[in-house]
Amino acid sequence: MEKDTPINELLQKPIVAINIGVQDFAEALQDQGVRVVNVTWSPPAGGDAEMLAILEKLL
């Protein structure tokens, strides 16, 4: 097992997080002193999952 894979680094270094979704999770991380950026997320492509799947294929 290599020692420098991203997983191993995750366990050795402080977490630096990006939160996408429930804002409470970002706040809980912040309360623990974790660096976190919260993404103010909204459903892409007007919330239409089918349209999103098509867009993902096209882009």
Binding site: E2, L11, K13, V16, A17, V22, L29, E56
Partner: protein
């Protein structure tokens, strides 16, 4: 009673926040019930079924927010709806300081990021997780309703890049002391935990803490990781990572029994591990050896935590296992079993469990089954033991109130206890019930006062039994650590004041419940 609703077009807010707003709205004078949801077809159907008249004909689409109030008067409802903008303002606090709308913007704002925490609705979750992996981020995937195909492709992609996907449907991880999702405040120490379930991780990590040791990391892998469809991709990566981690000296693996092929893969890997590995496959039927090489097999969460603490050289002195056990919150003894039994009326014979934690529900079924009793559940150990109707218990029955069928459109019982309180009363109305079995889960992101939310229902349930001339034993376990925001002692006191017998572990509460009904099931 009447229903008044409004549609707020193109307004997305996360479901946890919206449920909190709904709860506050329902506390307004003249408002009977309130719903605040994104207008997905599923959500609108749930509201229509719950009696919110006309919500399905508002013309709202999935990107719109719907607020619907059941009120005493139209004027009262309108007054609240007119001030909706104020209600929906969230105190964004410091996390709102950097306003970004996409993952790319977030990465620009914080290039050192190493983890994405994803909790968007299921149909979008795989896409967000994939983008995060492509950007070189590990992923904590809280969202459920991710297909098994998506899970497999995400995990294969992650493995290729040396990244890990924790989840989907991952409730808890603790990385380097930082709790992600529903996690407790536990001390750092030599024990690394890998868990397929959030509450399993919470129970073991808090027990390790309460028994004097600590946690290096706890890595959630999602409930399906050890199925043969996924083949334990994240579990195997987590074993590798914890084996390489200098802070970890003992590894614990918690899961339901793995798929057959995956079980051999995992067993082989554990046998080669240079660190001791404690496994706990809850619900497993076949006999297991006590150990094999570096592996120690256990059958419940308490045994797993205890074995790990001992393997890590747990001190049995002032702060160690034995001492902690004797000063634990447990109030059960042989005496209290006979006291409870003496108060029951003939015909009171069943255990009814109303759980917030799926794994604690599952473990309790195992205890009751091992005692030779037949126990049913909406999430049964074996298919044949499934409750015919999840909303109506028969015989010994344990209900996992966190299962999808109860959380569609409603908050999870770890966040809000309303549905559990109702179910407690429903169970207490059955004169054959002898013991009510409950779990209280503390920690980050959980309800601020779960015991306080359940206390009135516990009191009322006991009163109902007493009015019939009987007695209701309430056995409750608390999963939490003294450092949790809710306060372990305060929560314990609230339960005791309501008349519950409080246990420090789910296992002990289930064992107590089983002892109380033993021999009454004829």
């Amino acid at each position: 009673m009447l229903t008044e609703s409004i549609v707020l077009p193109n307004r997305y807010l996360d479901s946890v926040f919206l449920m909190r707003v709904a709860k506050r709205l329902a506390g307004e004078p003249g408002i009977i019930q309130a719903a605040v949801v994104m207008a997905t077809p599923k959500n609108l159907q749930v509201l229509a079924d719950a009696g919110y008249a006309g919500v399905d004909t508002l013309g709202a689409s999935v990107n719109d927010l719907v607020v619907s109030l059941q009120a005493e008067t139209r004027e009262g409802a309108r007054a609240v709806l007119d001030s909706m903008d104020d209600w929906l303002q969230r105190d964004s606090g410091p996390v709102g300081a950097t306003m970004v709308r996409t993952l790319d913007q977030a990465l620009n704002a914080q290039p050192a990021s190493n983890l994405a925490v994803v909790s968007v609705p299921g149909e979008f979750a795989a896409g967000e997780a994939r983008s995060a992996l492509e950007s070189g981020l590990n992923v904590f995937l809280f969202s459920d309703n991710v297909s098994i195909e998506d899970e497999l492709s995400l995990k294969e992609m992650a493995r290729e890049k040396g990244l890990i996907v924790m989840g989907p449907d991952c409730g808890t991880s603790i990385i380097g002391g930082a709790g992600i999702g529903f996690a407790n405040v536990v001390r750092r120490g030599p024990i690394g935990v890998i868990g397929a379930s959030g509450t399993g991780i919470q129970e073991v990590t808090t027990l390790v803490h309460r028994w004097g040791s600590g946690i290096s990391h706890a890595i959630g892998i999602g409930g399906r990781d050890l199925s043969d469809a996924i083949g334990g991709i994240s579990a195997l990566q987590a074993i590798d990572a914890l084996e390489a981690d200098p802070a970890t000296s003992v590894i614990v693996l918690l899961s339901k029994p793995p798929g057959k092929k995956t079980r051999s893969l995992i067993d082989e890997r554990i046998a080669q591990c240079s660190k001791p590995v404690v496994t706990c496959y809850l619900g497993i039927l076949e006999a297991q050896p006590a150990g094999n090489g570096s592996a120690t097999y256990t059958r419940n969460l308490d045994a797993a935590a205890s074995a790990a603490v001992k393997l890590a050289g747990g001190d049995t002195g002032a702060d160690g296992v034995e001492t902690q056990e004797t000063v634990s919150t447990d109030s059960a003894s042989v005496d209290s079993v006979s006291i409870e039994r003496a108060l029951l009326m003939p015909g009171q014979r069943y255990i009814r469990g109303v759980f917030a934690g799926g794994t604690l529900c599952y473990q309790a079924q195992q205890i009751i089954r091992d005692a030779g009793l037949t126990v049913r559940s909406n999430e049964p150990l074996e298919k044949g033991m499934k409750l015919e109707d999840s909303r109506r218990s028969t015989g010994h029955a344990l209900v996992d109130m966190g299962a999808d069928e109860f959380t569609r459109g409603y908050p999870h019982p770890m966040v809000d206890s309303s549905q559990r309180a109702e179910r407690i009363i429903a169970e207490a109305n059955d004169r054959q019930v002898a013991v009510l079995l409950l779990d209280i889960i503390l920690g980050y992101s959980a309800s601020a006062d779960p015991a306080g939310e359940l206390a009135p229902a516990i009191r009322q349930a006991k009163r109902l039994a007493e009015q019939r001339g009987g007695h209701l034993t309430v056995a409750a376990s608390i999963c939490g650590s003294p450092g949790d925001p809710q306060g372990l002692e305060t929560q314990t006191e609230r339960l005791r004041d309501a008349g519950a017998i409080v246990f420090s572990t789910g296992l002990k509460a289930a064992q107590f419940a089983t002892a109380v009904v033993s021999g009454r099931d004829a």
